[in-house]
Amino acid sequence: MLAYIVRRIFLTLPVMILVAVIVFLLLHLSPGDPAAIMAGDNATADQIAAIRAKLGFDEPLWKQFALWCWSLVRGDLGNSLFWGDPVLVLIGQRAEPTISLALTTIAFAVTVAVTLGVVAAANPGTWIDRGVMGFAVLGFSLPVFVVGYMLIFLFAIDLKWLPVQGYTRLSEGVGPWLRNLVLPSLALGMAYVALIARITRTTMLEVLSEDYIRTGKAKGVAARPLLLRHALKNAAVPIVTVIGIGVALLIGGVVITETVFNIPGIGRLVVDAIARRDYPIVQGVIMIFAGIYVLVNLLVDLSYTLFDPRIRY
């Protein structure tokens, strides 16, 4: 097992190098010039050229890439072109809201989706099943921002139960922290709920048609233990896989959700940085997101051993 983990970690290195090359080239070869943006609307071409030289953007691309890679190896993601602050510090300042949003969304989505999926599978063809699947279609079809605005209008403007926007740090209390996360988690979690609920239902239906389930029923095992202890555990591997894949979906959704709910997280940081062509921030955030995604997939692979003893690494 340990050897497998070490091997997998080493295998992530080429992936991360590839990500680094693609990110760097995409950013630097795509149109847009941070020096021109910094210089502002009244700047002349000479002023823009002077700023470009100050930032080192007049150096050959290979040299810029080499310098960036060398910094990466030393754990330095560089400094923001606009703020001058280290990218790691900026990401650190924005990490808590994003992690909070991601965790509450996953917790909400997995709880609701697995429950809905199991309930739908246990009642195939009934109005409950059709209702759950209808909800899943709706969850996929409605964009995050539409759900977000609808939730804001209903719960913040109309009913005044929850705040429109913002984020309260966990250190200021669990209550205020959660109050700010309820609506964004609901909005972001909708698509995730739909995805996991559908997979849970399908997998559960397959498992429920297995011989051992029929045997269990024949032996008089009660419906609930049969569903949760015998069927769900055996259906878990595809569900966990989808949850892992869904992390990528979540990362994309975080960017929009943070904008709609004005959450000062990493998503907002990277969107602002893209608009300004603040290369070090964009590169740094994408590298970190890529690393997280690789890590989550490793954890998902490792979790298979918990659900299926036949799987060994």
Partner: protein, 535 residues
């Protein structure tokens, strides 16, 4: 049963009452603090703490909080002393002497001296078009003593106070000597000003919120506030600039009372905000913005004056304004080369406007110049709605006027990069782009970089016209308002002949605020947070 002594009971009751009262007391204190604190959302994020290094308005908003200016314009547009106590000039107007007012302190507690002012002016002038215009005529700037400095001119120049007091960016903010001596091409990192607010770095989160606390050591002038001149008396403890990129969220937050001020609600939200009795609408910048269509003088067809005149005949400003602002009362046409509502605006040579949109005239002009359908590359900034709308409309107008147009969609960052490319459109250059500029600057022949017609040395589009430059130089030494207005008419007559740019309208964007926000000062380009009261 144990007996409770009366004294014990009283003590316990008092303690219980105190305990019960404590939260409400804390709430009351928190409320009081919130009552003297303003949360404001603007059109964008503060891109840097250095308001000299960039022309971004948000940097100037930040600058207006922490830095002070030598002069400020009042509500009539006249320059009034701000950090300066007294000033004067010699008989020939060639040496200007300025004395700083007493009591000026930097936020670090040290005195503001002439040694800080001189490099501050120099650094600002290196980045500002108006400053450069002045410095071309300046022999030297010297600190005479701790509180006195002079500006010696090479030639007579009537715009010294205009450029020192202007609110168009970059504003001439004063900084400490150590920051002011920073290379103008490099931004400063330390924020120490002498303005009415200090930046609270502990609670500020770049990209998220910028917290400005009242500067308790600031000594305001005795005069009543007017424009950005007069006494900068701060009546709240704190102003927080909240970066909220989504307009719909900002409107919802304003309605829910989570923020106090929103600078630019989109036109579609105005009816919703106007009908909310907790919200007040106020126009802070009466001159607003002027939409600019910039032709590239370096390449066909706009290297030919007839093509530029054809462009002028194609554009119907009211249609452009309707495309973005609907039937809003806040948008209008600007037939004047100098923004409508400014002292220099006039009606000279506006036959192209009064005659109405004229595609036949456009096609005739193109035929006269021998236009053979060369492609016109129009850059469309799709992430800025008013620019994107106007670009689409302009493409249609130009096609009707006989041009062969290719609309190229990109984001604003890409436009900003590509507009500096002088190569032909097929090699990464361009023919037309759309932008906007503040009405104050457009109304001033010198302060707007786009008004220069100095060819290669000028602003994007690189128009060149000797007569235009001679007239601008004459205007700069004009002695009286009447004389300047006369020259402005000549500039405009000439401009609408050689067409350095075409306008697509002028609009103001009213701000929305909670109805308990009072006494905001209407100023163009900067939003002053002094004099403002909450409650």
């Amino acid at each position: 049963m144990a007996k409770i002594a009366r004294r014990t009971l009283l003590k316990s009751s008092a303690a219980a009452a105190a305990l019960a009262g404590a939260p409400s007391l804390a709430r009351a204190q928190a409320h009081s603090s919130a009552a003297r604190s303003i949360r404001a959302v603007f059109h964008g994020d503060v891109p840097t703490y250095d308001p000299i290094w960039t022309t971004a308005n948000m940097a100037a908003y930040h600058g207006g909080m922490v830095y002070d200016t030598l002069f400020g314009i009042d509500d009539k547009g006249e320059a009034k002393p701000q950090m300066v106590n007294r000033y004067g000039y010699d008989a020939g107007n060639m040496t200007w002497t300025f004395e700083l007012r007493p009591g000026l302190k930097w936020h670090d507690g040290t005195d503001v001296t002439s040694a800080d002012i001189v490099p501050s002016i120099r650094r600002w002038a290196a980045r500002d078009g108006g400053g450069q215009h002045m410095m071309e005529r300046v022999r030297g700037i010297e600190a005479k003593d701790e509180k006195t400095f002079t500006i010696q001119l090479k030639e007579r120049y009537g715009l010294v106070l205009d450029v020192l007091s202007k609110t168009s960016t970059p504003v001439c903010f004063m900084m400490r000597k150590r920051e002011a001596e920073t290379d103008p091409m490099q931004k400063i990192e330390t924020v120490v000003g002498s303005g009415p607010f200090t930046l609270n770095l502990t609670e500020t989160r770049p990209g998220t919120q910028y917290v400005y606390d009242r500067n308790p050591n600031y000594v305001p002038r005795a005069e009543a506030p007017s424009g950005i001149s007069g006494g900068k008396v701060v009546k709240v403890d704190r102003v927080t600039f909240v970066n909220m990129p989504d307009g719909q969220t900002a409107v919802a937050a304003l309605q829910a009372g989570e923020i106090d001020f929103y600078e630019i609600p989109q036109p579609d939200f105005m009816p919703q905000l106007e009908s909310d009795r907790n919200i007040r609408i106020q126009v802070l910048n009466q001159l607003g913005q002027v939409g600019l269509i910039r032709p590239n003088f370096l390449h066909p067809p706009f290297d030919n004056v007839k093509a530029r005149q054809a462009l002028l005949h194609c554009v119907k400003q009211s249609d452009h304004m309707r495309a973005t602002f609907g039937t809003s009362q806040y948008a209008k046409d600007s037939p004047s080369y100098f923004a409508m509502g400014t002292p220099m605006s006039n009606d000279a040579n506006t036959g192209w406007y009064t005659g109405g949109q004229n595609f036949a005239r456009s096609r005739a002009l193109l035929a006269e110049m021998g236009y053979r359908g060369e492609e016109v590359l129009l850059m469309q900034a799709t992430n800025i709605p008013y620019m994107s709308n106007s670009a689409q409309l302009l493409a249609q107008e130009l096609r009707q006027g006989g041009f062969n147009v290719r609309l190229v969609a990109m984001d604003w960052s890409n436009v900003v990069q590509r507009r500096s490319v002088k190569a032909p459109p097929a090699q990464g250059g361009w023919n037309l782009f759309i932008t906007s500029a503040g009405g104050t600057a457009v109304g001033h022949p010198i302060l707007l970089a786009a008004h220069a017609a100095t060819g290669d040395r000028g602003w994007f589009g690189w128009p060149q016209d000797e007569k235009h430059e001679q007239l601008r130089a004459q205007w700069a030494v004009g002695e009286t308002l009447a004389e300047r207005q006369r020259i402005a008419r000549e500039i405009q007559t000439n401009a609408w002949n050689f067409v350095p740019q075409v306008y697509y309208g002028q609009w103001i964007q009213p701000a929305a605020m909670r109805s308990n926000i009072r006494n905001m000062l209407p100023v163009a380009e900067i939003i002053p947070w002094w004099n403002v009261e909450k409650g």
